[in-house]
């Protein structure tokens, strides 16, 4: 499907690792507790349903998504199970608010968390590669996991080369029993451009 050398694969994983590390640090500041991360995993698939992320296809998840555009483009997503989202919002708010207000604020709060987390990831990657990346406004969706990447009126799945690179990192907040994951989805053209930038970065770094 796409051929990455071991070093390229390792470098892309490390780029994501740096980005998600920064994101975890941001999340940890917000919730005032440690955030644990898994090692990033890269998979190439033709359909989202081919990934093991869709192992609970009917689970309803909350997701904040931002498209990004620059030398490579795609969609970044922060995903967590729906039933834990209010709990997450409660741990983010440092001011006491009534339950009604908490529920009203839920979507706003999750969008802002997504904005901070996803920008931390993308910003770190941009800074390492030295390439500016433009991010869209965050959008919120709540749906079954199997339909996570379905976008009304188009989207990455409808590209002419339906190859997706899924970069998956899981995060855990043990005190609140919350876990979720970050996804980066890119099509074939963008994957190739990212690979090219990684090659240049390695060439510069290694002399």
């Amino acid at each position: 499907m796409i051929d990455l050398s071991e070093l390229e694969h390792d470098t892309i994983s490390e780029l994501i690792n740096i980005g998600v590390g920064r994101a975890a640090s941001s999340l940890s500041e917000m919730v005032e507790q440690p955030v644990e991360l898994t090692v990033p995993r890269i998979t190439f698939v033709e359909r989202f349903s081919d990934t093991d992320l869709a192992s609970k296809p009917n689970e309803v998840v909350s997701a904040v998504s931002q498209t990004f555009d620059g030398p490579f483009k795609g969609e970044a997503m922060l995903v967590f199970p729906e039933e834990r989202s209010l709990e997450l919002v409660r741990s983010l708010l440092k001011v006491e608010v009534p339950l009604d207000t908490l529920t009203d604020l839920e979507q706003e709060a999750l969008m802002e968390v997504g904005n901070i987390i996803l920008n931390a990831c993308l910003g770190s990657i941009s800074n390492v590669l030295g390439e500016p990346i433009n991010c869209s406004m965050p959008s919120f969706r709540k749906r079954e996991s199997k339909s996570l990447l379905d976008v009304e009126g188009g989207g990455l799945n409808n590209g002419n080369k339906p190859v997706l690179m899924i970069l998956h990192v899981q995060f855990m907040l043990r005190q609140n029993d919350i876990d979720g994951y970050v996804l980066f989805v890119m099509d074939l053209d963008s994957i190739q451009m990212l690979r090219e930038l990684v090659r240049r970065f390695l060439a510069n770094s290694l002399g």
Binding site: K94, M111, G123, I133, M137
Partner: protein
């Protein structure tokens, strides 16, 4: 007790405004804090009032925080104007510096906001 100041928070996220307002209020209780959800609203608000501190998000509908900051810098040469944003890209930080804007990375925390303002107050 610090001198009374006026603050304008510009952020399309109600949640972000709520947090930052709470952090400022709990440390600088007599300060006046106004809010705008985008750049156009902020420009309307500064027509009738001047501010000592203007904290601007970067990624907003309509004009972004740098475009807004550039206009506000011309209008308020002595005010503290800061980008308070999740967008930590060096490109954005350099542009902010070149426009005379401070840079604060989100997430906003009480300590971060309090220390930033205290340092600015000490420098006045």
């Amino acid at each position: 007790m610090a001198q009374q100041r006026s603050v304008l928070l510009v952020d399309d996220s109600k949640f972000a405004r709520l947090l930052v307002k709470a952090f400022i209020s709990s440390n600088f209780s007599n300060w006046e804090i106004d809010e705008a959800e985008d750049g156009n609203k902020a420009l309307e608000m500064v027509e009738g009032k001047s501010y000592d501190y203007l904290l601007l998000d970067f990624n907003m509908p309509g004009m972004n925080g740098l475009e807004l900051g550039e206009q506000l810098r011309g209008r308020f040469p002595d005010a503290v104007i800061a980008l308070l944003t999740a967008n930590i890209q060096q490109e954005i930080q350099k542009k902010a510096a070149s426009l005379g804007l401070e840079f604060l990375a989100k997430p906003p925390t009480e300590e971060k906001i309090r220390d930033f303002i205290a340092a600015q107050e000490a420098a006045r």
